[in-house]
Symmetry: C2
């Protein structure tokens, strides 16, 4: 996901990342700008947390939109739990960007990520915005800098791209994301900006973004703690031209889904202290919501996570998590495979080679939990990480 | 809670604990019997997990009851996820105990705690039941042995007692419990038996038990993983005599509440790897359910737990957990105190001495999180433990 020579921006987008001094290390990039030369259809999906940052309050009022131009993001400070002053600061950030780009403030979205409960160092941001605007470029190196400027405890930057053909026209979908846990040691957030040169109405952009997010960023968890600032934004500037028919729409939806899933998985791969990446497939339910609830309950169980850490095929922990997910089901309908080995079949234990399964858990960073919980037709795929002593160390260090 | 010279059994109860060889260490007690000489009003509260052990299936059909005589409990094996054979084994345990006591099997309740997914070593249990029945005694030493015989990863046995006067009559309420986490490294359960010589109908026993459990065992969590076998049983044998009026009923309810709360807190004090015991008070909600949901969400947050481990007054983690609890509230109504220091008042950060609060967290094993979330009249008190590297180590050791 960081192979930059395969990453390119869609037509008509320019981006930049600079260091403006929000982070204590003055050399660290902390201000990013993603801008389109022309107005975009824009959509956004935001945290469900009732305690949410000022940038969430400002941005979610501005989408879906037909004339968005840019997203400005700072790292190092979440501007959350900061009251009226925080709200005014977020609005001023969009005004300063709008002045640089020659557009309405309403056309600028804003995100902030970092420590909660501190006011933004606004002079630094006010000085940084003209700098980052002056450096806007359409090249891959600038995209990498922008991706780095939104990082907090991430250990690598996260980019993904897909190209599809719409008739004779090549359309690009490129996304950037940050997040090393739903919450890191001293900050809280996953953020993503997805850009495309496809021709989309705001309504279609909104529907396609929600479809992609439901199958990607909403299907990951590190410790299940919902952040105050989670934001995913889609900008579609129509620069590729061409007309969207149903076939092209399906291809574009798939490109959005894949870019979002790749970025979501990158967040899990970068999860704090994780030794294993766990993919959970849950099938056989009457509704996707039921499958989702079971997958999330298994993913959030500290007992399941620590069993994976210990390479222990302790299936009782997985099956018992299914049982308390709040979904109506019968024990006799549960079948479990772990790394392709059948452990539990229709409510009964199965004889299997414990040492071999444990060895496969020890040898592979990727773990696959495959649950069938009935004969319904709905399924979901979910990603999480294991729980290690290193995660506890990272999150219990004194940080305030 | 282990001061045995203050602990006594209610009149007419006899108990015993023996080693029958279920646990790998042959000297460890693993079979307990709690018996009344006369029929009891009995009530039970069981796990809500849809995947539940065979003893839960057997026992919950038998309460509320007017003629219960005993509870038999083995540790070292949960007899859960064991299908029809497991169900037959639990039923046979009650038949063997009934034969010893000269009562109907229907009058015997059964619990099992230990590893999931293995059949009981039934010959050992069949040989043990006559032994444990032969050793039934009404003294405190036998009660300690019974309390030890139900332990799994517990590091100490858990007993609590209260005496109240009903008119001229002294009534005793004595409880025993086990549990060192909702789930330990290789087992899953909290169990408790509460005995009283008070005069109670099955219906009143049931209502009083539910009241007590809702304010004790249902208000603790270690990692939020609901076990397959959780069971709390109340036996009331009326041996004290005397008539229950409303005043006596209130006093008895309070005795039940206090015994259950003391045992529940003992489980949290014994939580695996815990450095801190966290008491969470949530007030100001419209309903007790809302207050409960907020308290449980804060208690189950790995980020809140690790902040406590690190003595870090990181209030953003607590406030953001309130925000995703699924309860409708406004950020402006949230006020937070930590160890009696005001950190966040009606939605705004408060200046405070961070070093002093951190020091108080470091110096005290007990941490107090006090949240007011509005002007409603409902409140709840909840207990949990912090999350340490030692917890991860205990639960990620290879155990199967």
């Amino acid at each position: 996901m960081t192979v930059t020579d395969q990453i390119s921006l869609p037509r008509g987008f320019r981006v930049a990342g600079v260091a403006c001094g929000i982070k204590s290390d003055p050399g660290k990039l902390d201000l990013a700008l993603f801008a389109s030369e022309t107005p975009c259809a824009a959509a956004g999906v935001f945290t469900q947390n009732l305690v949410h940052g000022a940038p969430v309050k400002v941005s979610r009022e501005r989408v879906p939109a037909a004339t968005a131009r840019a997203v400005v993001i700072n790292s190092g400070n979440a501007n959350a739990c900061t009251g009226d002053r925080g709200l005014a600061d977020s609005q001023r950030m969009t005004e300063l960007v709008a002045a640089e780009l020659g557009c309405e403030p309403q056309g600028v979205l804003v995100c902030s990520t970092g420590v909660i409960g501190h006011f933004l160092p606004f002079e630094k941001i006010a000085a940084g915005i003209p700098q980052v605007a002056a450096q806007l470029k359409p090249d891959a190196a600038s995209l990498v800098q922008a991706a780095q400027a939104i990082m907090t405890t991430d250990t690598f930057h996260k980019l993904a791209t897909r190209k599809i053909m719409v008739g004779e026209t090549e359309v690009t979908v490129t996304g950037v994301a940050k997040g090393a846990a739903m919450i890191g040691p001293n900050m809280a957030t996953m953020l993503s900006v997805i850009m495309t040169d496809a021709v989309l109405s705001p309504e279609t952009a909104d529907a396609m973004l929600r479809h992609a997010v439901d199958r990607s960023f909403n299907c990951i968890s590190v410790e299940g703690h919902t952040s105050t600032s989670d934001t995913v934004v889609l900008l579609a500037n129509a620069a590729a031209g061409g007309a969207m028919d149903e076939t092209a729409g399906d291809a574009l939806q798939q490109a959005f889904d894949e870019v979002a899933a790749e970025l979501a998985q990158a967040i899990i791969r970068d999860a704090e202290g994780a030794d294993h990446i766990i993919t959970i497939d849950v099938a056989g339910l009457a509704t996707r919501e039921d499958a989702f609830r079971i997958a999330k309950t298994v993913a959030d169980s500290a007992l399941v996570k620590t069993a994976v850490t210990g390479a222990d095929p302790n299936w009782g922990r997985i099956v018992s998590a299914v049982g308390y997910a709040g979904v109506t089901l019968r024990e006799e309908e549960i079948t479990l495979r772990l790394n392709d080995t059948l452990l539990y079949e229709q409510g009964s234990p199965v004889s299997y080679d414990e040492a071999a399964v444990s060895q496969s858990m020890r040898d592979n960073r990727e773990i696959h939990i495959d649950l069938i919980c009935g004969s319904g037709e709905s399924a979901v795929r979910y990603w999480t990480s294991d729980l290690t002593a290193e995660y506890v160390r990272l999150n219990s260090e004194y940080t305030t």
